[in-house]
Symmetry: C2
Amino acid sequence: MQAAISILDNEGAAGLTFRALAGRLKTGSGAIYWHVADKDELLAAATDHVIAKFEPQDVGRLSPQEAIRALALGVFDAIDSHPWVGAQLSGNPFQYAVLRILEGLGTQVVALGIPEKGRFNAATALLSFMLGLAAQYAVASHHFRDGSDRTTALRAVAAKWMELDPEQHPFIHQVAPLLPVHDDREQFMAGIDLILAGIDTSR
Amino acid sequence: MQAAISILDNEGAAGLTFRALAGRLKTGSGAIYWHVADKDELLAAATDHVIAKFEPQDVGRLSPQEAIRALALGVFDAIDSHPWVGAQLSGNPFQYAVLRILEGLGTQVVALGIPEKGRFNAATALLSFMLGLAAQYAVASHHFRDGSDRTTALRAVAAKWMELDPEQHPFIHQVAPLLPVHDDREQFMAGIDLILAGIDTSR
DNA sequence: TGTGAGACTGGAACGGCGTTCCATTCATTT
DNA sequence: AAATGAATGGAACGCCGTTCCAGTCTCACA
């Protein structure tokens, strides 16, 4: 598991092959199949490891809103330090790591006093938002892996956006300059707060 | 493009290989590379086709909120009838189809009168939620492809959730019975409405 | 009318992937 | 000392995306 996570961190999701992992462990690729059914299970197990490590403790002492923010920050930090986790979470929403996030969110939604009918929608809305943004960060960090740092890379994307027809894409033009200077963490938490505010109106 | 979409609809994303597409078109796999740079571009083009077809017309006559709902419903219907689109959108958030969705959402966010600083976060929150739920539906429909219909398949997942330790997963237990009877479309729109309500408070 | 050039084809070949298979080693129990 | 099941490791299989390239087809221009 350590070896797999290390490869994923250094080489990205494409770098984790059974051959590469076997090489790192000085064994054959077949041996790995004794411990793991297939590649999906391998990736899910690695994701579980990371998500569990970033799950906040002592959430009980916080207000429900603060607890949800803490949970979200945990997921964000997990993705931020292991970008492949983002793609894995959003690409496989039925794995255990996602279930555990949903459990954490749901408990706090109940604590917020949302009536029973709205709980499922409120919790899954938070979850879906987190998975959606997770996917975006995952692709971004993968796309800009080699060489160039984040800011110059995003500047390049913004420049491409500016090349589009301004008549047909006024909003994109308006927002493109923000792209290189925006803070991912702030964007993530702003979305969470937006949904929390919406949930609050339905209480 | 027609052949590619037809294969994707019938065999799923894994079924679209250059060999399969070449076979369907009675040509060689090399010929396809004259028209398309690689597989990503092929999938992106197919996704663009579908998303464009489901983009609502005459959004100008609606209120901003109604326009956003119409846009969201278009995306939902596109995924509902072509499940592979969900995975493609969330797995590749920098493709043109996603940009066009963001443009549509952003224009309406501006029309809502959100101050300039909040526009980017509001529009991307809506987008991220849509992509996140899109990924979930995509995996669900892929996972339950063979044989069993949606309800019995979701019943099986719910049963698995009920096997988990109730002490550690109270919310999952509470919500599992809803899984087989919930309406995807309603869940999708409930999330949109939640975010819209949150955006409204920041106006 | 002939011809050359560029658009386009189709199939072979390459390297790498996930997965399977199985003879073998190893550790533990009897 | 023998037996047994857990675990290994490397060869082999079939399929994938991609590359390569000798051909064919089309059509503007000499």
